[in-house]
């Protein structure tokens, strides 16, 4: 069951911002678009949230074609990159108006607003005018507002941009909590660690194209290369043996160390076998991260 299906979506402004993008997002999962600034993530989010009309292609959100704007809008919640609160109103009024726009009745509103404020820990601030909120509080309130009406799909555009480390972790917890309630979360990020720690699936986006989609672990083990760094005497003695191992890409030696590059999960046990009985001073393993994956796929460093 998929909450979002995109089929060759395209949108050009001066340049091709979104270039034949296709992917599917499973219901109840967290899906991240990872890419540097200017990759087209916000434009793609705009298309899926019915704010931007694509030049061509087809997409379905929560079972409705994005052409059926009002039907899609009823099913989604959105947190934009820039704040979108009415700062002259109180926290509760912001949520109240939102809930009313989604046609919720008084009793249901009160219940859901309280639940949302509690989840983000703002229930004590409900009657404070939003002008007085800090950046982090505003972001939390926007999160609360986005799910007041029980959306099926939640869109978060860079939800932790500019937040301090502690608030970021808290936001991650909210997002996970919502996923566990069955909400599908579609988010964009340019933070590697956010994509790695939070998401079930990641799509790597660059220059308008999605270049790879998959589970974080799969992406890493499929393309990401790690390295094992062993400190030993006479490393040159072992070079040949390591090079013979299946899955080893490269062996580099120094005076007192040897570095073996390759798929760490596969080569590590074999390295231990080779080193059986050898006096090893230290072993360091560097696991691949999504940054390596991005580098490998695009030939460029992230940002």
């Amino acid at each position: 069951m998929y909450s979002i299906i995109a089929d060759c979506l395209e949108k050009s402004f001066e340049v091709k911002a979104v270039d034949c993008v296709s992917f599917k997002v499973k219901k109840g999962s967290i899906f991240a678009l990872l890419g540097p600034n200017g990759a087209g993530k916000t434009t793609l989010t705009g298309i899926l949230t019915t704010l931007i009309k694509p030049d061509s292609g087809y997409a379905e959100v929560a079972g409705f074609s994005i052409e059926e704007k009002l039907k899609v809008r009823e099913k989604i919640g959105v947190v934009f990159q820039e704040p979108a609160l009415d700062t002259k109103l109180t926290a509760r009024e912001n949520l109240e108006f939102h809930a009313m726009l989604y046609g919720m009745r008084k009793k249901e509103r009160d219940e859901k607003i309280l639940r949302a404020l509690k989840l983000v820990g703002l229930e004590k601030w409900e009657n404070v005018v939003v002008e007085k909120f800090s950046g982090g509080m505003k972001r939390k309130l926007e999160m609360a507002r986005a799910f007041v009406h029980d959306p099926e799909v939640l869109f978060l555009d860079e939800p932790t941009l500019g937040l301090d480390v502690q608030t970021r972790r808290i936001m991650w917890e909210y997002i996970k909590a919502l996923r566990d309630e069955g909400v599908t979360v579609f988010m964009t990020t340019h933070y590697i660690d956010e994509a790695e720690n939070l998401c079930d699936e990641v799509a790597i986006m660059d220059r308008g194209k999605i270049i790879k989609v998959g589970k974080v672990e799969d992406l890493k083990s499929e393309i990401g290369e790690g390295a094992v760094y062993v400190e030993i005497d006479n490393p040159q003695k072992y070079t040949h043996e390591f090079e013979k191992l299946e899955g080893v890409k490269e062996v580099t030696i120094g005076e007192k160390f040897i570095q073996i590059t390759g798929n760490v999960d596969k080569i590590l046990p074999m390295i231990f076998r080779v080193l059986n009985g050898v006096k090893v001073r230290s072993i360091k393993v560097k696991n691949p991260d999504l940054e390596d994956v991005f580098l490998k796929l695009t030939g460029r460093r992230f940002e």
Partner: protein, 248 residues
């Protein structure tokens, strides 16, 4: 599907909350029209316009109309502020049609403008303006329709200019010319002959004439014409502003 009426009410309610919360802005916006009223009516009190016996009586409906058009054009243009501070996006992803959004905003600013115009009319009474209760009640017809027209016009220009810099241009090149061509502070019959026909294309002209008729019983054109023209202008601008709203 959510009804079309509810969002209009919600957006109207939002405007009202904001109005109550920034009362000082409401009162300070009365200041300019009141200055016009006080200084013009005392400064020109000795001047005799042909066919006008009492200048304060002539001027007050014009100044009430002025308060309406400035306040409601400003309200329409303020969708630019909403866009800048993001609130517009929040409404744009809600399951609400453009027409409802536009009507909600128009309802909000028409209420504000009506309150302002009423305040001007009531404050002008101690300054020597005389009208009756019936006149004040009927004046709301013209005030509300003018507010609708000019809020719609503000939204229309917001869609065209797209940023704050154009704001002054709209005021200078649209609102002030319409104001001077409306007969609000002097009769348009005093304008050069070739300019006068322009007044008949000006929505504010019919609003001013209508207001003058219901409040003082004297005007250049008859009530039927000014009522119908004002009504038509308001309908056209509602349709127009709903159509261009996408582009903001």
């Amino acid at each position: 599907m959510i009804s079309k009426v509810l969002p209009i009410y919600v957006l109207w309610l939002r405007e009202m909350k904001r109005l109550v919360r920034s009362r000082s802005r409401f009162f300070s916006s009365l200041f300019m029209p009141l200055m016009f009223l006080v200084f013009l009516s005392s400064g020109f009190s000795g001047v005799k316009f042909q066919g006008i016996e009492n200048y304060t009586e002539f001027l007050t409906p014009g100044i009430a109309a002025m308060a309406v058009i400035f306040s409601s054009t400003f309200a329409g243009l303020s969708v630019l502020w909403d866009r800048e501070f993001g609130f517009l996006k929040e409404i744009s992803v809600a399951p609400v049609s453009n027409t409802s959004i536009v009507l909600g905003r128009i309802a909000g600013s028409a209420t504000t403008a009506t309150l302002q115009a009423m305040a001007i009319i009531l404050l002008s009474i101690p300054l020597g303006f005389s009208t009756d209760f019936k006149g004040i009640v009927f004046s709301t017809f013209f005030i509300v329709l003018m507010a609708i027209t000019f809020t719609g016009m503000g939204i229309f220009f917001a869609a065209i200019i797209k940023d704050f810099h154009g704001f002054g241009m709209v005021m200078n090149f649209v609102i002030f010319p319409l104001f001077f061509l409306s007969g609000a502070i002097f009769p348009i019959t005093k304008l050069p002959k070739f300019v006068q026909p322009l007044a008949y294309l000006n929505p504010m002209f019919y609003g001013v004439e209508g207001l003058r008729m219901v409040l003082t019983g004297r005007a250049l054109i008859c009530l039927t014409v000014s009522s119908i023209a004002t009504l038509l202008f308001s309908i056209v601008t509602i349709l127009l502003s709903a159509k261009v709203f996408d582009r903001i």
